[in-house]
Symmetry: C2
Subunit: 702 residues, 2 copies
């Protein structure tokens, strides 16, 4: 645990700069909230005009405090913040928490940078500016201007919206989702999502990390922090729509990034993405209270056929389709229900089921080794008391002698169900008001287990690459003043990264073309190489299926004529002479440099799949072959790679290797490559490899 | 309003057959609930062993009651129900409500049919059996064994799950969704979804119809009822997953049908499909309280940037993407917020916004003609009182002088927000605990408006069809003992329904083939015609691009040899001689007879689109060209029809006409055609039409 970050977030002594005796002022509220929360450290109000605030001696400056100060909470107007920071540094304050707004979020970037620079000079860390503050139940610390601590629990929240954080604190009580720590992250001038995720990952009390994100500043650092975290992380990413991203940007001053790339990054490092605010609460509840689910066998037990069917539908929708329970489980369960009940799965103990039915059914099922997780459903009836049912369920789980399997509950009904729900949650059982939510929560615990199995190791790097060679080729193009490579150059860069490009060489003369064609072997393809002619086919500057020397001569003549017809003053480097690869399944591999996450690789099938269906998937580079195989299986048209319509399966292993190599190419050369694609790549049948037929690299602006 | 149905559902006098003095018995509960609910009609308990129940004189039989009985509620065991029904008929009871279970839902189909038959003989209608009963707030009638009436409101529920209905009654109080009527539909032995939808459509109090459906019995009747209903209908269809459908079937004894076809039918008749139970409640609230939204201009007003962004994302997700407000709206709104607020849309009046900010912002925006609907968001803050904000919002709407536009509200926070939420709902403003739900509710009001514009008229029927001719061809095949048509026959049936099949005739001899080929015009295609060879290509029994008489002779020889090699004893009718249509965009049109909805037409692009991507869409037949165009635009690959990748747009108008004709063919001939497809159809560019190249018709078993 970083001791400085720890000092800012769990200080033993706090100075409140801008403390006030006026109850309307934030400087008053923070002091009052610290006291009300039961904070056990030292409190030093700082205000040159007061002697004492709320029973605590007041100082004119932090420098006047004769004791060690771990953290200073700053509430003075923005224009005074830099001066205060300087004083804090001189005093030896370890870190500062800047509640004050009026910095980068309203365009005052310079002011913010100044403060950060000064803090860094003194080795101080900053949370904020533009925050509500920091809250901790276990630390009995409400170092914020929110009027209360959240409902006690073990989730940890990091919120980029202060207003939402305040509203969420109130909501924790009505929704019964308990949090230990809540951190308002503000403008992330210094401490960012990565730092705070790492902090909560190492925190003893926190069991699950809950994020409200508008924009991450450094995607790579965030990914590393999340990858190293072995607690569940769930994130609500706001600004996923175009208009929403614009609204988010205007709101927090941070880049919203592409929502597709966020989605990819979350998947790569095992972050569950929440669908909406209720979903964030609902799934946080399960992730913070229950263990991960170790297998796919979900058992649903219900007293109502209707909710059983709805839960079954949800199980399929959320990726955990039901299977029938094994015969011995069915036989045993049948003993605890009326004849017209069903023991199959969903197990319907029927509306008449009382305490005994629930107790026996749950106790037996939960203990059975076939069952990996349980969703227990209850529909309020006239003849049962929800609270008693809740007690029976809890007792059954206790008495089962089993632990380590997740269970969720749904109680559909009115006030009595709400009471029972509260009671069960208090006992650590996530309980919801609808069956599908209970199932979704369980599916999340399964998904989180699966992600935890694959996302914690960094990708392994291929060794058969030659970065120097690639940089040399790029330097050559830059030397000629170009910011795009020719196809021949791009293919040479690809080849340096182990990509199987179809042999392609530049011929400067007709004779050279004939020589190269014979070296490569007929049939060949010829194309113009000119920085002025990007759309070569449109210009009539491509000829395929060239079979002999005479064809080469004819092609040279026609391509040259067409090119000059297309653009009379085109600068012409010569012609690409290229092996003609036999046609096969077309895929596209491409890359962009995402503003947040950096080099990102895209994969999809070519032609209509990418152009019409947008059936593509992304990953932040670098990736290894395992991740690349997941990409291939993730596209909607994956079946084509597995061999659809009587075709044999494609060489997915080789394709995975190529995606991994490609990802390292764009990662290593991110300062040079802005965009690229290998389009098309031809994927042959299993064992027959891949050919990269065309290559494009656009360089970064320098 | 059907007077008999009315008598069952809104009786002026009720006999309770099986009434009991034992508070544990359903026969007691129904009488007690009628009294507790304040029922103002006559109550006649029927029980030969009692003198009086709960202050009401008891009779030995309905026949002993000396007054008119509108409805009899039957609670006696299943084996006595038929006898009671007979007595009710003899007494002249108008209709019966059978609470008793133990009929078709447990396989006792005969018992149920007997009861229905007897009731019909007397002209009585039945609701049930296997129901909770019928509840009506406006009728002060709790004719059920559920212990209370639902929260008063204007929605009307029809539920196929009794257990869920009871739980939902309790939930109406905590979720604050008010219902006037709740009808438990049970086994639908007589009155079914269609009857009850029609009843609620004509009911004065009901503003919105809410359905929980496991299986509809007669899809066509349901569709007609929904089409004729001009109130919003929202349905939660349980059993959409395969395992869920199986669970639903075991539970209610009704066929679950294909969820794809349900989806299609709902769309066709303007039924909103709920995603889950909470969604059913949430959207019922909006549909029952607010008018439909007349245009696409949604304005979001918020005090928190975070929830504003989440709402903006939701707007796009639910099909109502935000637009920036016009400059004059922005200029006016700017006056009512701090400098750092945003008037664009979402309108962010900022966290400091108090009563005045909300009041002025809402009043101005709601009245502005640009705004078609509003979502008003509030995040609980330390400095505002949610209830006062709620009052300000309501007063602003009242004072705006505008009506007829929908508005929804979201209050994110704790208990004080819950209070404010309850207050606003009481005033008729649907209010939710998350911004996306408020936006989704508004989007539903927009969607419902759009559906109401297209779904109320029955499809118009084409006139250029010849059903007699089609039936004649089918009869010919049946006469030969076949239950599949040959390609030539199928094409003739298609042609009788105005479908542009490529000219195809049956040649019985080589000479006939030459004659036909010359009549049709070269090039032609030849294929074997044999009931024993269905996979003609596999048998080598298809030859394309036949250019002259000699080619015909050669093809005849080869096809005949290959066919006999494929199946030595194949019965061979001859060969199909067919025009060779120039290749173009391939689509597939097909049909199945759905168990619930009957003949259903399927449409999609051919090849990988249907086989790998399953990119197809369904409609229950018949459809007209408008609906057919919606089908074409609905598939994911629709862009290909509009002209993708430099291709010109396809002839979507002609394709629509073909889909409509096709739908009438399968509709008219539903007793004859079990399955069919036109695969492929080739769609040429705009104005150039469509060619149906291959045809297949499987007949119903007779």
């Amino acid at each position: 645990m970083d001791p400085i970050i720890n000092a800012v977030l769990e200080p033993k002594s706090i100075a409140i700069v801008g403390a006030s005796a006026d109850p309307e002022k934030i400087g008053y509220k923070v002091v009052a909230n610290l006291i009300a929360g039961g904070y056990e450290g030292a409190i030093y109000p700082i205000n040159p005009k007061s002697e004492e605030i709320l029973g605590h001696k007041c100082y004119a400056s932090v420098k006047d405090v004769p004791y060690v100060i771990d953290a200073a909470i700053i509430t003075v107007p923005a224009k005074f913040v830099h001066g205060v920071t300087q004083e804090c540094g001189e005093k030896g304050v370890k870190g500062i928490s800047i509640i004050t707004s009026g910095f980068s979020e309203v365009g005052e970037h310079e002011l913010e940078e100044q403060v950060v620079k000064t803090a860094r000079e003194f080795g101080m860390r900053i949370i904020g500016p533009n925050i509500i503050g920091v809250l901790s139940n276990s630390g009995k610390m409400n170092a914020s201007f929110a009027s209360q601590l959240p409902l006690n629990g073990t989730a940890g929240l990091i919120s980029q919206s202060g207003a939402l954080l305040i509203a969420m604190i109130a909501a924790t009580y009505t929704r019964r989702v308990g949090f230990d720590k809540m951190l308002s992250i503000g403008n992330q001038s210094d401490l960012d999502f990565a730092d705070l995720v790492t902090y909560l990952a190492e925190d003893d009390v926190t069991s699950c990390i809950t994020l409200y994100i508008e924009g991450i500043k450094d995607g790579a650092r965030f990914m590393e922090a999340a990858r190293n975290c072995d607690k569940p992380i769930i994130a609500l990413k706001a600004g996923t729509s175009e208009h929403g991203a614009a609204a988010a940007a205007s709101h927090t001053g941070s880049l919203a990034g592409s929502s597709k790339v966020y989605e990819a990054a979350f998947k790569q490092v095992g972050v569950t993405q929440a669908d909406d605010l209720n979903d964030l609460f609902d799934r946080t509840l399960a992730l913070s209270l229950q263990p991960r689910m170790q297998g796919d066998n979900l058992l649903i037990l219900t007293n109502g056929g209707g909710v059983g069917v709805l839960a079954t539908d949800a199980a399929e929708k959320y990726g955990l389709p039901l299977k029938f329970a094994p015969p011995e489980v069915q036989a045993e369960l049948k003993k605890h229900m009326p004849d017209f009940g069903s023991a199959k799965n969903p197990v319907d103990i029927t509306g008449g089921a009382g305490l005994k039915g629930y107790y026996e059914g749950v106790k037996y099922s939960y203990a059975h080794p076939w069952v990996d997780g349980m969703a227990i459903l209850y529909c309020e009836t006239a003849v049962t008391n929800p609270l008693e049912i809740a007690e029976a369920i809890y007792k059954a789980l206790q008495d089962s002698g089993t632990t380590g399997k997740p269970v969720t509950v749904s109680f559909v009904g009115g006030e009595r169900c709400d009471t029972a729900t509260a009671w069960l949650i208090e006992k650590g059982i996530p309980t919801y008001n609808a069956p599908d939510i209970a199932v979704k929560a369980l599916a999340t615990l399964r998904q989180d287990q699966l992600m935890s199995e694959t996302t914690h190791s960094a990708p392994y790097k291929p060794t058969d690459i030659n970065p120097e060679k690639a940089r040399e080729i790029i330097a050559g193009a830059r030397a000629k003043g170009r910011d795009a490579l020719t196809e021949v150059e791009a293919k040479h860069v690809f080849a340096a990264y182990g990509l199987p490009v179809t042999p392609t060489e530049l011929a400067k003369t007709e004779e050279e073309a004939i020589k190269l064609a014979n070296e490569i072997g007929f049939p060949i393809v010829m194309k113009i190489v000119s920085p002025d002619i990007l759309h070569k086919s449109d210009a009539g500057a491509v000829k395929v299926n060239i079979k002999n020397d005479d064809d080469v001569r004819e092609a040279w003549k026609v391509i040259m004529e067409n090119s000059l017809k297309y653009k009379a003053d085109a600068e012409i480097d010569g012609m690409a002479v290229q092996e003609m690869a036999p046609w096969s399944t077309e895929v596209i591999v491409g890359s962009v440099n995402d503003a947040t996450f950096g080099p990102t690789v895209m994969f999809g099938l070519g032609g209509i799949f990418v152009e019409v269906l947008k059936d593509v998937t992304f990953r932040v580079a670098p990736i290894d072959e395992d991740e690349a195989l997941r990409m291939q299986n993730e596209i909607k048209s994956a079946q084509i790679l597995h061999g659809a319509r009587g075709e044999s399966p494609r060489d997915m292993a080789k394709l995975a290797s190529i995606l991994a190599h490609y990802s390292y190419m764009i990662y290593d050369l991110k300062d040079e490559i802005a965009e690229s694609d290998a389009n098309p790549c031809l994927v042959y049948e299993e064992g027959k490899g891949v050919a990269v037929v065309d290559a494009r690299i656009i360089l970064t602006k320098k």
